[in-house]
Structures are given as structure tokens and as C-alpha cells.
Amino acid sequence: MSLHAEDLRVYYQTLRGDIKALDGATFDIADGEIMGLAGESGCGKTTLAHSLIRLTPPLRYVEGRVMLDGEELPIADMERMDDFRFRKISIVPQYAMNAMNPTRKVGKMTAELLASKGADIRELMPELRRRLDLVELTHAVLDMYPIEMSGGMKQRMVMVLSALLDPSLLIADEITSALDVSTQKAVAEMLVEFRDRQFVKSMMIITHDISILYQVADTIMIMYAGQLAEKASTKTIIEAPRHPYTKLLISSLPQVGVKVADVRLKGIPGTPPQLLDPPAGCRFRDRCSVAFGKCLEEPPFVEVARDHMVACWKEPGRDA
């Protein structure tokens, strides 16, 4: 098992109380697996990402365990996590375009960062160059300041940097959101290359754009209102989802070749619940067309078929 998360709860502190941004996540990511994490804005996907790698106020750790390669990740302890960061677990952040120090040449910043983590850039230079070639960046970027690079260049540089020490798990947080479609494709494919060449063992790609995940992810996990709704192989999620929310999500995607005149785009009526004081039981209850009495009780995230997890009373677990 690469990553194993058990009942992870991380709340967001505000003056008005705790926002239950991540409320009980239990899932696994296997070695070599690229898992896509999707859901609407505010569903908790970025909270999950930050919990794994940088749990600082206003985020507050409540309970849960995370194991990476059999070792426990001390996510609540900022200092002890430093040993794991960059080497075992790494992230390409949402703000990748601003992630580099504006007054330092990229190469110098990399060298200083590596030195501070006990690595020597001179030893890593050949590998670094190979990776720059892979993402189609000229070696000259090391001699540039971030302001001299385009947005796409900066993003690719951060991708290379974050994966430089071959982490077990690489989290990619909304890295395609600000790009145009053709660049999105290129970047997504680069990510897969990273895994195929074993720069990283497994990946978590966070996005609200399921079409990207369809192209590159092995499995997709759908989140809703701070909780996990469904996790299955990409094919299953797209073609045969079982959670009511996932079904609505997939069917609301526009299809190529289908005109609005023929088939109108379907949205999902209603809005996600407030997480300051979330409703009891299943959080999708109010928007669900098949909700019934039992939905007042929170459905567990159980295995309904091989490697297919769903949290819905209508889809009982295999051993139910």
C-alpha cells in the first residue's frame, strides 16, 4: 500500500465555529496508482491535500491516521513532517505560477533548497537536466528569474522541482485549471510520464475537471461536502457510477457531438450544504432523488464491488 488514510478528520477554524471541511475520509492509494480526486468547489479536496502535506492554522487536526509506505505520517506535527516532505510526499501546488522566489534565479533557489534538505544539486544535475528535457524546458531556465518565464514554463519547472527527490506520493492540486486545453493535455501527459518512469510511485490529481481525469487517471474518487462519495476505476466511474451524486455529475458533462437542441445540459438542482453545521446523515440527502428514511444516518464508505467504494444506503456493501 502506498497511501492509507483512516477516518481523517480536519476542520477549519473560524470565529463562528469549526467548519467540517474534511469529515471522515478513509481510502487507499496503491503503488503506481494515479488517483483523481474530483468534486465541486468546497467539497474538501484541497483541504485533503493540505492536510496531508501542510496542516497549519486555520486548519485543525481532529482525528485520523495516515500511513505512507507502512510508516505513519505525523501530519499534525509540523516539525516532524519536515522529514517526510519533499522526499516521501510532495505537492505541485495550485499557485505553482507564484511558487518560486521572485528574486532568486531558479537554479540557485533549487540548489539552496536541495542543500537545506541534505541533497547536492551537483549530484542531481544530470537527472535534473533529463527531467527538464522531458517537460520540454531548456536547461537555460536554471539561469532565469521566475519573472522571465511564462506561466506554463513556471508550472512545468515546479512540477520538475516537486518530483526531484522521487517522492512516493505526488499531489497535483488543480494544476491544469489556469491553462488552455492543449497545454492541459500536455501537462497531464507529463504527469503520467512521471509515474511511468517511476519518478514518483503514486499520484493524487486534484481537479474539478473530470474530463482530464478520464484521460490520465487510473481511479477516480468523488468527494461531496467534506466526505467521500465514491471511489472506483476511471472506467467504472464514467460508465457505471453507483452513487447518486456521481451519476448526476457524469450525466451533466457535455458530450462531444451532442447539441443542446437535442439533449439539454442537465445540472444538479440545489446547492451543497453549509459545513459549519452540516445536516445529520448523508449530506447529499437534500438533493438526492432516491433519498429515503435511512439517509438520516450517515452511510459508511464501503466496498460494493472489487476496488469500488461507495457511501450510499442504496448501494449496500458486499458483506451487507
Binding site: 519536515d82 516532505r85 499557485y95 507564484n98 528574486t103 533548497l113
Partner: protein, 330 residues
């Protein structure tokens, strides 16, 4: 980089031109007549008064048409001729001012440099230690809100009179005349300390507060968060934050020069320190228009030169400006 300096130099030249024009303009369009004032101070026979009036008018170049006076002024400027003082007739204005300049340099240069460096250092420390922050913050706000002359007065009173450890008037003891000896140097330093301290403390407060806020701002920037996410040690993150925070502090120094000069002016008045500020005040009180003009000009030139120096230093410190990308447009 050429564009960066080009713009700056243009502004400085325009400012210089404007300042010189104002400098020349004001005495001539204000009530009062310098020659008349001079004459009224000397009770002389009426015929002699007329002769003297003619002489002085010619001596001060007031007998030619206005536009010619203006051009003469510029011409004289380039010859280093700032005219003759009325109050300290017949000394040349340029000479009087040049005698005062070393005192200003001795006061301002260390005060500005040390307060900027020390203030930034303390501000950086305050940004990361809670207990230090709780003391530096209120202290800094108090110091920066203190009027320069009041701090000078209080220091002079406490240390000069009550505790009697420092002298509080003049640049050196009245019974000494300038000569090179340890005794004299020590005496000068003794007199120099309180005015220096006064200037240093107020600025120090301002820089400490500014730096503290800048560092907090830098620590919240995306690049700091990224380094944290990659597990970089706090030293590296703080180092980057500090270096980046210094840049706006440097630009801020250029902007503060006018205020600092004003502070030096009043501090000299409080301590009777013979710098240009003290001179300017004496000139105003004695209505010596030419001395006023000269002092004003000197102050402007000093500020422009200082601004330019800081611009050069900024280019050296911010690597982006060298690449043609202006980080700061001060």
C-alpha cells in the same frame, strides 16, 4: 535598465530645475526688500544711504531686468557662486554653507545608515519571536510617532542637564578651537552624540515596524508556503523573506529622505548644532535671502543625490532590475 535610470534622471533634472526656479522666484515676489533691510540696520547719513543702496543693488545684481536676473542666477550657479550673504556680509554664501556641510554629513550619514540597518534587523527578529514582537511593536510605534524636536529636547534635558553626562549645545566646546587632537575629536563626538541619538531613535522605530510588517507579508507569500510544503527549514524561508522584504524598505528610505532632512533641521535647532538646518533658521530670522536660497538649494541637491545613490544601490540589490524587469517603480 537604461529605461529605469533614464526615467529617474529625467525626474531628478526636472525637480532640480523646478526647485532652482522656486528658489529664485520666492524671494523676489515676497514682501520685503533685502537691500532695504540691510540698510535699515545701519543707521547712516541719508546721502551715504543712497550711495550704499546703489552699491548693494548692483552687488546683488538687482539692477537688471527680472529675466536677466534669472539667467544670471543659473550662470552663477554653474560657477559655484551662490552670492554674498546679507546677514554675514561680506562672506560668500557658498563658503558659509560649505563650512556647515561636514556637520550635517557627520550627523545624517551614520544616523540614516545605522538606524536603517539596525531597525531592519530588529524588525526581522520581532517578526519571529513573540515576546520580542510584544516589546518592539509598541516601542517602534511610539518612537516613530515622536516628533524629532521633542525627543531632542527630552534627551537634552535628561542626559544633558539632569544627568549631566552629555553636552547639549554646539558642535564642540566653546573654549576649544578646531585642531587635530584626541581631545578635540573626543569633544566633538561628545557633542555629536545626543543629536545623533535623537535622529537615530525616531528612524529606528519606523524601520523596525516596517520590516516586521514586510516580513510577515513575505512569510504569507506563495513562495514561502511552497517552501514550507517542501519541508524547507525555517532558516531558508526566513532568509528569503528577509532579503525580499529589504527591497521595499530600500525604496522606502528614498521616500523618507525629505522627512529625515526635516528631522535633522529641527534637531540642529534644539542642539544649536551648526549644520545647514541651523544656518537656514538663522538666515530666516535675519531675512538673509541669499543665504536662504543657498541653503535651500543645498538641501535639494543633497536629497536628489541621495535618491540617486539609493536608486543605484537598488539596482545592485534587486537582480530583476538588471534583467530589465523593474521590480519596484519608486
Amino acid at each position: 535598465m537604461r529605461r529605469y535610470f533614464g526615467r529617474k534622471i529625467l525626474i531628478y533634472l526636472l525637480t532640480f530645475f523646478l526647485a532652482v526656479t522656486i528658489d529664485w522666484l520666492i524671494p523676489r515676489f515676497m514682501p520685503g526688500n533685502p537691500v532695504q533691510n540691510m540698510l535699515s540696520r545701519v543707521a547712516v547719513h541719508p546721502e551715504a544711504v543712497e550711495a550704499m543702496r546703489g552699491y548693494f543693488t548692483r552687488a546683488f545684481g538687482l539692477d537688471v531686468p527680472v529675466w536677466q536676473q534669472y539667467l544670471n542666477f543659473w550662470a552663477a550657479l554653474f560657477h559655484g557662486d551662490l552670492g554674498v550673504s546679507v546677514y554675514m556680509f561680506p562672506q560668500r554664501v557658498a563658503d558659509i554653507i560649505l563650512r556647515a556641510v561636514p556637520y550635517d554629513v557627520a550627523l545624517l550619514l551614520p544616523a540614516i545608515l545605522l538606524s536603517w540597518l539596525a531597525g531592519n534587523k530588529f524588525g526581522a527578529y520581532a517578526a519571529r519571536t513573540k515576546w520580542l514582537d510584544n516589546t518592539v511593536l509598541p516601542l517602534g510605534y511610539t518612537l516613530t510617532a515622536t516628533p524629532y524636536m521633542w525627543l531632542g529636547i527630552v534627551l537634552a534635558w535628561v542626559f544633558g542637564i539632569v544627568l549631566d553626562v552629555f553636552p547639549f549645545a554646539g558642535a564642540y566646546s566653546y573654549d576649544l578651537s578646531p585642531h587635530l587632537s584626541w581631545r578635540f575629536v573626543g569633544d566633538v563626538l561628545h557633542h555629536w552624540f545626543l543629536p545623533f541619538a535623537s535622529l537615530f531613535l525616531v528612524q529606528f522605530g519606523g524601520w523596525a515596524i516596517g520590516m516586521r510588517n514586510m516580513i510577515i507579508y513575505e512569510l504569507e507569500a506563495d513562495y514561502s508556503h511552497y517552501l514550507e510544503a517542501l519541508g524547507a527549514p525555517r532558516n531558508l524561508i526566513r532568509n528569503y523573506a528577509f532579503r525580499n522584504a529589504l527591497l521595499p524598505q530600500l525604496s522606502g528610505l528614498a521616500l523618507q529622505l525629505g522627512v529625515i532632512v526635516a528631522g535633522a533641521l529641527v534637531t540642529e535647532v534644539v542642539f544649536s548644532y551648526p549644520g545647514i538646518g541651523y544656518l537656514l533658521l538663522a538666515a530666516i530670522q535675519n531675512q538673509d535671502y541669499f543665504l536662504i536660497q543657498g541653503c535651500f538649494l543645498f538641501i535639494i541637491v543633497f536629497v536628489l543625490l541621495a535618491n540617486f545613490a539609493i536608486d543605484i544601490i537598488y539596482v545592485l540589490v534587486d537582480p530583476r532590475t538588471r534583467r530589465g524587469m523593474t521590480g519596484e517603480t519608486a
